[in-house]
């Protein structure tokens, strides 16, 4: 089920909110022999059932896979804790890691490996052609954060299956992130506050995310598709395409994160931020501290640091960096474009580490911004390309490869038509709007005006976004495929 759909907004969400807020957090069931009461956590149960239905609606069969993965890791967590300090604790952890990653590897990468083996060995192994379970990359990483943190002693074992299953399957972030660590919501699974403040913040944040996705990401996605479908391509057209797909990716994914964070807040969870205006970065390293932060910190804490991080020899550090960025790229998709995309960033981070970083600090900020934007545009064209040959063709087109003309009337038409949207996207990708609102709110009258405008903004954007649902076509979130 898509957040940006009528079925989600006006059927599912309304039903879930109604039932969730009617239910008490806990219901007393019976008195135990020790005098304590056994409680049924009704709100968690409602969220769990709603989340399973949410997943089932999009992936009826693979719901079994997700529930099985949760069950295996629930048991693994219990074993890790019970046999702490013994070899069995490590065995339980490895079972959890192997089963979780094995499942991800099988469903996501099997055909990639078969294709490459066939190409190298000239064999004819039949492709499995399995459908990728939606969100498997996200929920696999989430549940691994649980078992690894329990093993490390950084999280307490969760004895309630309902709580653990609620955490993993929580529908706001289930299928496209952010990757919420178990430790982030550990306390909130057993006790959380439901306030007007949380609901109001969550609703506004959700509407902002929805608007980013529907009004900007989908519009620019349409532009990108149109440009790629044109018979006559030009150099400027390829650059417009690069800008369009870059903004599309940002507004699609950060919009989804906004919606997830907003929904989480409505239900009393405080998810960490996932994006922090990455396009204002002055280096690639800074970009990755601002882009998909939950993935970056996951790889840092569960891969990079266990490999030794940067407190190792130069060659080992190079290996660690390559390994992490190879995996980061590969996580995004079973295609060489994603692997090269990840390795491109590895190369750039190494360059920045060894000499470019110092140069970037010394030159005027505008040049370091231009450098980052240039790299990001190229990288997202690679990311969005249809295979490596498509990537070479698209990136080559940006530099006039094939003798294509620089400009055409059609290019001008699309630039003019989408000019405002591109400007809105440019402004929206910087903290200008946020800072302006904060500045206005710092004055008493300004705060009053913003407070009055906020509910009007929420309703207006809901009306506009709904109008896009009613008149629009199916447009899934880009990160669903990961």
């Amino acid at each position: 089920m898509l957040f940006s759909s009528i079925s989600f907004l006006f059927y599912f969400l309304v039903g879930v909110l109604a039932v969730y807020f009617i239910m008490p957090f806990k219901i007393k069931i019976f008195k135990k022999s020790n005098g304590e009461y056994y409680y049924f956590e009704a709100k968690n149960f409602v969220l769990l059932i709603a989340s399973l239905f949410f997943y089932f609606y999009g992936e009826p069969i693979y719901t079994i896979l997700m529930v099985s993965t949760i069950l295996v890791n629930y048991i693994a967590g219990l074993f890790v804790d019970k046999f702490r300090g013994t070899v069995w604790s490590k065995v339980a952890l490895w079972v959890s890691v192997i089963i979780s990653l094995g499942s991800l590897g099988f469903f996501k990468y099997a055909d990639f490996f078969i294709t490459n083996i066939n190409a190298i060995a000239h064999s004819e192994i039949k492709l499995l052609s399995l459908a990728l379970p939606i969100g498997i990359s996200f929920y696999t990483f989430q549940i691994l954060s649980y078992t690894i943190d329990v093993y490390r002693g950084e999280a307490k074992v969760q004895k309630s299956f309902i709580r653990l299953a609620t955490y993993v399957s929580l529908f706001p972030q289930l299928i496209a992130g952010p990757i919420v660590r178990y430790t982030t919501v550990e306390a909130e699974l057993s006790e959380r506050k439901h306030t007007f403040s949380n609901f109001s913040y969550g609703a506004t944040r959700f509407v902002i995310g929805l608007s980013k996705k529907v009004l900007i990401a989908d519009t620019l996605g349409g532009l990108a598709r149109t440009l790629m479908g044109l018979d006559e391509k030009t150099v400027v057209m390829y650059w417009i395409y690069a800008i369009a797909v870059s903004f599309q990716l940002y507004f699609d994914f950060s919009g989804y994160s906004d919606m997830a964070i907003g929904l989480g807040r409505i239900f009393g969870f405080q998810f960490l931020e996932n994006f922090n205006y990455p396009f204002i970065s002055k280096s690639v390293a800074e970009f990755w501290r601002r882009w998909h932060m939950s993935l970056g910190t996951w790889f840092r804490d569960y891969v990079y640091i266990p490999l030794g991080g940067n407190r190792v020899s130069k060659f080992r550090w190079i290996f660690n960096t390559l390994a992490v960025w190879f995996l980061t790229g590969f996580w995004h998709g079973a295609d060489w474009t994603f692997i090269f995309w990840g390795l491109l960033f590895a190369a750039l981070l190494m360059l920045e580490k060894f000499f470019l970083g110092n140069i970037l600090k010394k030159i005027p900020a505008v040049f370091s911004h231009i450098y980052v934007v240039f790299i990001i545009l190229i990288s997202f064209v690679l990311f969005s390309a249809n295979g490596m040959s498509g990537a070479i063709s698209d990136i080559g087109g940006m530099f006039g490869a094939g003798g294509i003309p620089f400009w055409s009337e059609t290019t001008g038409y699309y630039l003019l038509s989408y000019g405002f949207v591109l400007i809105f996207a440019l402004i929206g990708s910087t903290p200008v709007v946020k800072n302006t609102v904060l500045k206005i709110k710092s004055f008493k009258t300004g705060k009053l005006i913003i407070d009055i405008l906020e509910p009007i903004f929420v309703v207006a954007m809901l009306l506009i976004v709904t109008s896009y649902f009613v008149d629009g076509s199916f447009s899934p979130f880009l990160y669903f495929r990961f």
Partner: protein, 375 residues
């Protein structure tokens, strides 16, 4: 306003908005609409029963998703919001590929579907080879440009490469003589809210075609122009911006008034050339030759010749054929979109000594749906 009040207001308006439309959705679920008059299409319906198989293979879920969109309450209101937001706030030139130039609503189309053109050529050649070849027939073809052609020519909008389109069709239909009507048309010859041309604006087109086929044009020498009623063309509803409607116009004279139209779907009844009963229907353009008909025969009792003409056409031909009918004794108006030519052509006869004109709009022959459109 203190934060507490603001938070309560935001929470309330958000919840009220969702709740109100959720209730309306439930109403829509139990009272579904069958069609959208504005969009001229059937609306998706909720699955009558949801089965386990339908859930697993996602067909029921897919049906539910489509129906939840199509059956959403106040559909036209929301479509209007979206169109106005696209044009006036985002500054986009298009909404659902429709653009507005000087009040003309135009579908921006710039893709040349060569497969479709080749399929059209093959289809028309099949008729030529089987029924027309060696019959002393004069066979012509012509292509009616879509409005987007003029948007491209005059305003720099993306449009199909018509030079290439015509070259492909000329190559495909090498046995037929091409009649070029491109220069006889301009954007204002088309209805503002519809794809079609206005009959009173295509007199020069009809004259050019008649002359190319060696026939007298408009022997009566005059036309009476009749402005019938407001015309809400196909783009009127699709655009969702409530533009001013057009006025539908038809031309008549003594000869045209005397013509009799036979409908091969019911030969016992005759039809008028201009069926005024259709004016208040879903598509007022069906006024011309009663709209979608597989095969019609127009008999002209005042003809000064025994010549017959066969027009293979789409809906554009409905308003053109009456203007050509004045010069012929008999005009057959055939639409092979609704019946296979193998069934239809034998009903016309053996075509000997007839003139034959294939005239189609570019939007019909240059379409990814060509093979679905034609029988």
């Amino acid at each position: 306003m203190c934060d507490k009040i603001k938070n309560i207001v935001v929470t309330s308006v958000f919840s009220a908005f969702l709740a109100f439309f959720a209730i309306m959705c439930v109403y829509g679920y139990f009272n579904p609409e069958a069609t959208s008059v504005a969009e001229r299409r059937p609306l998706a319906q909720f699955p009558e029963e949801i089965t386990w198989e339908g859930i697993v293979d996602k067909t029921d879920i897919s049906k539910f998703e489509s129906a939840s969109v199509d059956q959403f309450p106040f559909r036209e209101f929301f479509r209007g919001i979206k169109a106005n937001f696209q044009y006036n706030v985002l500054g986009l030139k298009e909404n659902n590929k429709l653009t507005i130039i000087d009040g003309q609503i135009i579908k921006v189309e710039n893709t040349l579907y060569e497969d479709s053109l080749n399929a059209a050529g093959k289809k028309f050649n099949t008729i030529y080879d089987r029924y027309l070849k060696g019959k002393n027939t004069n066979v012509y073809f012509s292509i009616i440009p879509d409005k987007s052609y003029f948007a491209g020519e005059q305003f720099g909008y993306p449009s199909v490469d018509y030079n290439k389109l015509i070259e492909i069709m000329k190559e495909n239909l090498s046995e037929m003589e091409y009649i070029d009507i491109m220069n006889s048309l301009e954007l204002s010859d088309y209805y503002k809210t519809d794809t079609h041309w206005s009959q009173d604006k295509i007199i020069d087109v009809a004259e050019k075609i008649s002359n190319a086929m060696g026939m007298d044009f408009n022997p009566s020498g005059y036309y009476d122009k009749h402005e019938v009623s407001d015309f809400y063309g196909v783009y009127y509803g699709q655009s969702a911006i409530n533009p001013d409607p057009d006025k539908i116009v038809y031309l008549s004279n003594e000869i045209l008034d005397s013509c009799i139209v036979y409908d091969y779907e019911n030969l016992s009844k005759t039809l008028p050339i201009y069926n005024l009963d259709k004016v208040n229907g879903d598509d007022a353009y069906e006024l011309f030759l009663s709209g979608s008909k597989v095969l019609l025969r127009i008999e002209n009792p005042n003809a000064t010749t025994d010549k017959s003409l066969v027009v293979f056409r789409d809906s554009f031909g409905s308003s053109l054929a009456p203007l050509l009918a004045e010069g012929y004794k008999t005009v057959y108006v055939a639409d092979i979109r609704y019946m296979s030519p193998y069934q239809l052509c034998p009903m016309i006869g053996d075509f000997t000594d007839m003139d034959v004109l294939f005239i189609y709009s570019a939007s019909v022959i240059n379409s990814p749906d060509f093979n679905k459109t034609f029988k």
